[in-house]
Symmetry: C4
Subunit: 195 residues, 4 copies
């Protein structure tokens, strides 16, 4: 089974998810800077989720580039991942529109954990169906980032719900850290290679 | 006539259908777990429809992989299928927002029956236009699942409208059964092959 | 300049246009058949526009299949066509939500005329840039349907505005006739060939 | 690393951005020409942004056609560009719905400047990772239009905020000039070549 349409369909869904999130940035009624600045929690949430979906697209791209074939299990594992990613616009909007209240921040973490688990299952399904000489498993390696990310997310969920001031902001900061773990080294490694 | 753009256009439409359904998950105003849990009928409907569109994408993928050419009839049969699938977001939202009331549940079944018929017509149009040595018809076989699914849907429509308690829930359960008929064996067969 | 990305981008835009129109089918608040039936003008408008965008995709597909190269003029002519097609969701919703009132029905015709002109300009731009041996012009032929369609639309616009009863419905019927001119022969010819 | 999926994902995101902007053209409640004409600021803003996203797609197309490979930096530089372009629907709607008030017009310019800078960074990232014999840098040349556009945008932002009558309209006219700089010569050069 060829992987072309799996990539095309995933690109389509990810492109829509990353773009419809901006529809939640409700246009303010007044044409003032104050009205715009009041949107900052929604905007910051949008930036984080844009980065997260971008990271997933990036990793998905690399993962499938290292694969040669897909099977029916992979198709379903991929749809399962897309399902959890499709909940990001909802979780992003709920968190942003409630100024980082505890429950929405925690739910954002739950969606992120589920997406990370779904990605892990997709990796396993892909590795399992490759011909013996594909070396996808070697290319993935120990995947330290893939293992630590869901752990940080899972830790952030109860932290968001702690009855202390600023607890949800600590959880949100942990989400930002996870995103930086993925974006920063990528860019830095490439810069080093370029030199 | 090449099939590449037919696949690309269908992937695009299916990707959009599967993703815009999540826009119906209206973000609650209060940042509480209760407000979130009140969304369960909408969420459950979303899960079902996500699976259904996923099943159609999956089957469409296999169907076109087994085909070598398409003609004008196939283009129109495909658009006809996409038309009925495009009504899923509407039917899903109406069913979910009315807590599985009888009429919306029945209408969901009507849309599902029409989509199943449209798929059946697409299969016939594709089989008819393949060169003699393509063996698409053999690959499809008796297509028991493709025949039993619309029957179950058609049965569920009047059941949803029965004036007895929980009738719509029985109909909804039948929709879930149809989805499971498609997803479960796929995954199980692949697992068996993998062993 | 290769035509692949032009096709991919157009497929994406057309897929989104054809699908977001269904978002205008506002989900009724009551779970009754009466509430659903009250949507019929919006639904009929949606069916017409779905067919129209489908016809454009179909023709676009054939047009580019007969072309070998594209140039900068073609890119802009194509964007110009997509611009007018992108107004179909607006015109469709306005017409449907106002029960086929005169002005919205006329504006729908204006959008349809402009799209037809834009398509004509795209055909000319494509023919002009093909190498001498491509025979795209011959493949297009006299293009009777492409010439009569904008004429019927242009005639329907003033008819919709006539101060007599049912004038907008006559105009709407003319739009339906144009769509049938494109869909019916396609299907019939293919059936004949199949025999 | 192949560039195919980068193009496909970018096409998807740009197609969605260019199309969802039309959702901001809220359907008027009354079926009258006056109600339609009251939408002119939103419509004019839509036309400008449609042209701008079209210009970016066009340039992106040419840029990647001149490139042979992409690396991780390019993926992130591309996502960074798509991020700023994704804010165009918001800026377009805010500007249009407030009849070209000063602050929204200025913010539109800010988004346009940021997108232009992001495009500049993408060009640099692409040039850097090409093999020695690709000549992408030579193909881009001095890129006078690419340098003057952000300057005009950056100048328009403070102009929009000047406390004199019609200042925002002057800024808006400057945005239109930038778009014409890109669209007009393209079409004219191609016409000259065709002769």
């Amino acid at each position: 089974m060829s992987k072309g349409r799996l990539e095309a369909f995933s690109d389509g869904v990810l492109a829509i998810i990353i773009t419809i999130m901006v529809l939640e940035l409700a246009v303010p009624h007044e044409p003032t800077l104050e009205a715009l600045l009041r949107l900052w929690p929604v905007f910051i949430s949008y930036v984080l989720s844009f980065a997260n979906i971008g990271i997933y697209w990036n990793n998905h791209h690399h993962l499938l580039q290292g694969s040669r074939v897909v099977d029916g299990r992979v198709l379903w594992a991929n749809l399962h991942l897309l399902f959890w990613l499709s909940l990001f616009p909802f979780a992003t909007a709920w968190m942003g529109e409630n100024d980082f209240a505890a429950v929405p921040v925690a739910i954002y973490g739950v969606v992120a954990v589920m997406a990370a688990i779904a990605y892990f299952l997709l990796v396993r399904a892909l590795v399992r169906c490759q011909p013996a000489d594909t070396h996808l498993a070697e290319a993935i390696g120990s995947d330290a980032k893939g293992k630590i990310s869901p752990l940080i997310y899972a830790l952030a969920v109860p932290i968001a719900l702690l009855p202390v001031p600023f607890a949800p902001f600590v959880a949100f900061a942990m989400y930002v850290v996870v995103a930086l773990i993925w974006v920063v080294p990528d860019v830095r490694i490439e810069r080093t290679i370029a030199r």
